[in-house]
């Protein structure tokens, strides 16, 4: 293995490890609000690791530029997507864990999702 292949493998291994952690958390965590943490943070870090490896391995500068643009896109949009889903879950009153205090937003949304 050359040095480039070794670095690519290490980056992709870190990414795949975080993606495994993220899907394990999505499967095992108790309610929808805690699952949002694993889907929103660990999934983003995992796919960024894999994309860094791919962008490093391809010799074409255009492919590397596309991968860097995609990394910025994931950094911007993936936490936003997780937050939008959590907000929809809170507005439609999906139940959370027992003893999950403090819940400062309880009762402050009407049924259309607007703040009272």
């Amino acid at each position: 293995m050359t040095i480039l292949e070794t670095i690519t493998f290490i980056l992709c291994l870190m990414g795949v490890f975080f993606m495994l952690l993220s899907s394990f958390g999505l499967l095992r965590l108790p309610d929808v609000y805690t699952r949002g943490h694993s889907a929103g943070k660990a999934g983003t870090i995992g796919v960024i690791g894999v994309l860094l490896g791919v962008g490093l391995y391809h010799a074409d500068p255009l492919a590397t530029a596309k991968m860097l643009a995609l990394i910025v896109f994931f950094l911007l949009t993936s936490p936003v997507a997780a937050q939008i889903i959590e907000r929809a879950a809170f507005v439609t009153e999906v139940e959370m864990l027992e003893n999950d205090a403090p819940n400062d937003l309880k009762g402050r949304y009407d049924e259309h999702g607007n703040l009272r």
Partner: protein
């Protein structure tokens, strides 16, 4: 590409497929609709990683464009699902 590197990359592809199967489990048995929407988001992220790893293995630059399209479609689908859940199907 050395044979050892190709073997290791195939192993990473298999690990990503196992992770995708676990995410699909949450997609199938998630108790509420936001659970399923979140699992759908993670399924699209896994698809991006699978295509990116496959682009290394077969050494095709063209698959990079497919990765871009899948990423944008996954984000748009997640936002559309969240709006649909929040507005109650109107």
């Amino acid at each position: 590409m050395s044979p050892l590197f190709e073997m290791l990359m195939n192993g990473l592809l298999a690990l990503t497929a196992i992770s995708l199967a676990m995410t699909t489990g949450r997609l199938l048995l998630g108790p509420s609709i936001p659970d399923r929407a979140m699992a759908f988001d993670l399924v699209m992220i896994h698809t991006v990683a699978l295509i990116a790893l496959y682009a290394i293995i077969v050494d095709q630059n063209l698959l990079v464009d497919a990765v871009l399209v899948v990423a944008v479609l996954g984000f748009l689908g997640t936002v559309a699902l969240a709006r649909y859940i929040e507005k109650g199907g109107n």
